[in-house]
């Protein structure tokens, strides 16, 4: 049986969300949740993997509540998690601008922006909680941008018409993460969190059907051992690095969520990946990652390409009437602020027409000349100074005088482990928070909503739902000599030894690049059946070649970064296959998933709600074996699905 012959399994449903009016569900859930007596909490150990916004916030909060937290990150310090690189801002329905914002509107915008593929109850809760996040972060000393009166400043951000985005210059993610990291550091110093930096999760321990710990490798000594607990929280981020070139940090990887998937957790909507429209174009084959420029730049920058194909004049020599400000032309109401997927695809269309600029014609201009004329150079510098500086450092061009060149790049993954309203996966006791889960953004995430979701999950949503799980579940300690521990440890070690034993003639990066290019080509901005079938045929061949030709010097008993890469790649091959299968089966366009066969006459994404109004949750059956599809039918009671229109 071929991998493509997936079967349809029983539907999966979220049974954790209470029914009743959507505005009251979260309050009801918290009230109905069981509590754990504060004196008993220290008897419970909770493992948290990852220290980004979701993991850092969860670890600190659970420890504050009295739980014994054992936390892991592969970086040398919890402060380095990739949330730190988020630039633009964080949304919250504070309505400080009196511009018509509300919890209801943030909820509405997020469901609509996600192209009607997110679960309404989760999204509504996210919008409710957003308000508390800002309060929490301000109390921690996060230095948000402020007005002269001392109050918080906000700005509008990609795809919405209200000013609800709070920011700290172009380093909002850094400042929010440092807030969570500092709270976590306080708990580490107090002995409530046992922190394991430079330690990578390799597998999940499932005992008697429940998640009871992880197997992890000390990246310095190579030691592989088990850690047991009463519950496991994965806050390990997204899987954008499967594309090799992405805006993710180099070491961000999918191994934790993928190994959990192999152990039984369903993986939802893997093909929902987000391409960010404003990244710095690649400069050559040596490129190791792509750098994002915050899309807040689209607030003041104007995007254009020459009207004529193959126009190689420098931008200053192209007169105004020979420029095509294509977003303003096609989408007059939203102009340069259309959602990310629309802006990205539009850039690809003009470049495919031969009107792209820069090396290889893979770029469009983002021009600040008008903004500088209108606001003055100082005002532009105050808003975007650090971004302009970064651009200049990388490209050696001055964006104050020459328009920036930008091109889309993989940035975020909306798919992830399937979770219910409690953020629990299909393995009892295994929770997934932040980008690692699939729950809130549907098929497309709005700008400044990733930080909101990470912190909402970690600070406010997980703690009460985890309480409920621990309060309801009788758990006996897992003995240190339980056979499952030794078995999974041995399996993890065997895999590394197999990689080391090949001693072939290709490096991990060479395979990763090959896989990434294939995915970008066939499962990137636009997808079609023929391309996806080509990719599904090619991936097993690359994987087979990997096991014949991979070369990793050194041993597993030492710091071995090449071994870390190769080990992550093994999971990327399987994940890439599932992404392509998911994209192939979803024969509609929605959000970041654009199937060229499913487009409106004017080339916009055409959803097919009757057939595909569900989240696709996949069950693993074996490497290269056809998976089982479980559908979660999505009901839209509050936001009626309409074809998105930004014209």
């Amino acid at each position: 049986m071929s991998y493509l012959d997936y079967t349809l399994g029983a539907p999966v449903a979220d049974t954790a969300a209470p029914d009743g009016p959507i505005e009251q569900r979260w309050e009801r859930r918290r009230f109905e949740a069981k509590l754990v007596n504060p004196a008993n909490r220290r008897k419970h150990t909770v493992i948290v993997v990852g220290t980004g916004l979701a993991g850092g916030a969860a670890g600190a909060t659970l420890a504050e509540q009295g739980y014994h937290v054992v936390q892991f990150c592969f970086q040398d310090s919890p402060r380095r998690a990739h949330s730190i690189a988020a630039q633009g801002g964080i949304n919250a329905a504070k309505n400080y601008r009196n511009d018509g914002d509300s919890v209801r509107r943030l909820f509405y915008d997020t469901v609509k922006g996600g192209d009607f593929r997110a679960r309404e109850s989760n999204v509504h809760r996210l919008a409710e909680v957003s308000v508390e996040i800002i309060d929490q972060c301000v109390a921690q000393g996060v230095p948000f941008a402020r007005e002269y009166g001392g109050l918080l400043d906000t700005r509008s951000f990609g795809g919405v018409q209200v000013s609800r985005t709070f920011y700290a210059r172009g380093q909002t993610g850094q400042q929010l993460l440092l807030g969570a990291y500092q709270a976590l550091s306080r708990q580490i110093a107090a002995g409530n969190v046992e922190m394991h930096p430079r330690t990578e999760m390799l597998d999940l321990l499932v005992v008697d059907g429940r998640a009871r710990g992880i197997v992890a490798r000390d990246l310095v000594t190579g030691e592989i051992r088990s850690y047991t607990a009463d519950a496991v929280v994965l806050a390990t981020g997204g899987y954008g690095n499967v594309f090799y070139l992405s805006t993710n940090a180099k070491n961000s990887n999918a191994t934790a969520i993928w190994r959990a998937h192999r152990r039984g957790a369903l993986f939802a909507n893997p093909c929902f990946t987000q391409i960010h429209p404003t990244c710095i174009p690649r400069s050559g084959d040596h490129q190791s990652k792509l750098t994002l420029m915050s899309e807040s730049l689209r607030n003041d920058g104007r995007i254009w390409v020459p009207k004529a194909k193959g126009d190689t004049r420098p931008p200053a020599r192209i007169p105004e009437d020979e420029r095509d400000y294509y977003l303003e032309r096609i989408y007059p109401a939203f102009g340069n602020l259309v959602p990310r997927d629309i802006a990205s695809r539009a850039a690809k269309v003009v470049c495919d027409e031969g009107r792209g600029v820069g090396p290889g014609g893979q770029g469009v201009y983002l021009d600040f000349a008008d903004a500088i004329a209108r606001l003055g150079r100082d005002a532009v510098e105050a808003k975007y100074g650090n971004l302009f500086e970064m651009y200049q450092r990388i490209t050696a061009e001055d964006p104050y005088t020459v328009p920036m060149r930008i091109y889309p790049a993989i940035h975020y993954t909306m798919g992830g482990l399937w979770v219910d309203y409690d953020l629990q996966t299909t393995i009892p006791g295994l929770f997934a928070i932040g980008e690692a889960n699939f729950s809130d953004h549907g098929a497309n995430r709005l700008g400044a909503s990733a930080l909101m979701q990470g912190l909402a999950d970690g600070y406010f949503v997980l703690p009460p739902t985890l309480n409920d799980y621990l309060g309801r579940t009788k758990l006996a300690a897992v003995p240190a000599d339980h056979p499952e521990l030794a078995a999974v440890e041995a399996e993890s070690a065997d895999r590394l030894n197999l990689i080391l034993a090949v001693d072939g003639d290709r490096t991990p990066d060479s395979f990763h690049r090959e896989l990434g290019e294939l995915l970008w080509e066939e499962c990137g901005m636009a997808r079609d059946e023929a391309g996806l079938r080509r990719a599904l045929a090619r991936i097993p061949e690359i994987r087979a070649e990997f096991w014949r030709r991979i070369k990793v010097p050194g041993t597993g008993e030492e710091l071995n970064q090449a071994l870390e890469k190769a080990n992550r790649l093994v999971d990327y091959f399987e994940l890439a296959e599932l992404m392509c299968l998911d994209a192939l089966h979803r024969a509609e366009s929605c959000g970041g998933h654009f199937r060229t066969e499913s487009a409106t006459p004017d080339g916009e994404a055409a959803r097919r709600d009757e057939e595909f109004g569900y989240a696709a949750a996949w069950e693993f059956t074996g490497t290269g074996e056809a998976p089982v599809l479980h559908r979660e039918e999505l009901a839209f009671e509050h936001v009626h699905p309409t074809q998105r229109s930004y014209a």
């Binding site: 916030a57 504050e64 970086q75 040398d76 310090s77 402060r79 380095r80 990739h82 730190i84 690189a85 800002i134 309060d135 921690q140 000393g141 230095p143 948000f144 941008a145 402020r146 007005e147 009166g149 001392g150 109050l151 918080l152 700290a168 380093q171 850094q174 440092l178 500092q182 709270a183 550091s185 580490i188 110093a189 930096p197 310095v220 940090a249 180099k250 070491n251 400069s283 050559g284 040596h286 190791s288 750098t291 970064m390 450092r393 990388i394 406010f460 703690p463 003639d505 490096t507 990066d509 060479s510 070369k551 990793v552 010097p553 050194g554 030492e558 710091l559 071995n560 970064q561 090449a562």
Partner: protein
């Protein structure tokens, strides 16, 4: 361009290390310094040699993971992180020395990787505001004058890379500690713990084996984020005040 690299290789904290010479060719000026090292490592792997270990992650100058001493300067000749240093700042035929951060409080883990966990312990001893989740008042309850917010932000930009320590002849962490103390102490939210914060953080800094500050100012010159040297004066003032 073609380059000669002299790179510090060291198996572990207790084994002696040495500078080892490598040649790389076909380096593009648009490569970052780390991409140049990637190129070398690809060749080393194919030759069956252990690649050069170095910390790196975001490669956009914000995570603070990367850092090496390049030709005697922390993060090299430009005022930026190593990942954002581009090869256009070097010339064909150059010989480049690459070493790990050198400081008593940063033991070498392997090659160019050092242990900077002492910086985490400084933060853990007071670099926070005690504000357990859920206890926060409404964000607009306490306005913060823009000047204070901007000053706090200027110091909060520290990425914890450790270049200041590596650049200091005394291996002092004064600028790092100052950055966090000033960030939190100028804000009203940080005021209740103002005195204990600075005392505890300075005490931990000393206990971790960082050297004393003699106002040489190398730290602020090396800082990729431009944390100002005046931060150290502010730290001293906070310390005396406490």
């Amino acid at each position: 361009m073609n380059l000669t690299l002299r790179i510090w290789r060291q198996q572990g904290p207790d084994t002696p290390g040495e500078m080892t010479e490598y040649r790389v060719s076909g380096i593009s000026e648009d490569m970052s310094f780390l991409e140049m090292l990637d190129t070398l490592n690809e060749e080393l792997i194919l030759r069956g040699e252990r690649p050069v270990a170095f910390d790196h992650d975001c490669r956009e100058g914000i995570c603070g993971a990367c850092g090496m001493v390049i030709n005697g300067q922390a993060h090299g000749p430009e005022r930026t992180t190593t990942c954002q240093l581009h090869m256009r700042h070097f010339a064909d035929g150059d010989t480049i020395d690459v070493e790990p951060w050198r400081a008593g409080a940063f033991p070498v883990v392997r090659d160019l990787v050092v242990d900077r966990s002492a910086l985490d312990r400084i933060i853990g001893s007071g670099g926070y505001v005690t504000a357990p989740t859920g206890s926060a008042p409404e964000a607009h309850a306490t306005p913060v004058p823009k000047e204070a917010a901007d000053l706090a932000f200027e110091h909060a930009e520290c990425i914890g890379c450790g270049a200041c320590v590596a650049a200091c002849p005394n291996g002092s962490a004064m600028l790092f500690t100052a950055a966090k103390v000033v960030h939190l102490n100028v804000l009203p939210q940080g005021a209740p713990e103002r005195a204990s914060r600075v005392r505890n953080m300075v005490e931990t800094m000393d206990a971790e084996g960082f050297g004393g500050c003699t106002n040489t100012g190398e730290c602020a010159t090396a800082c990729p984020k431009g944390i100002p040297l005046t931060g150290i004066s502010r730290l001293n003032r906070e310390f005396l005040r406490s």
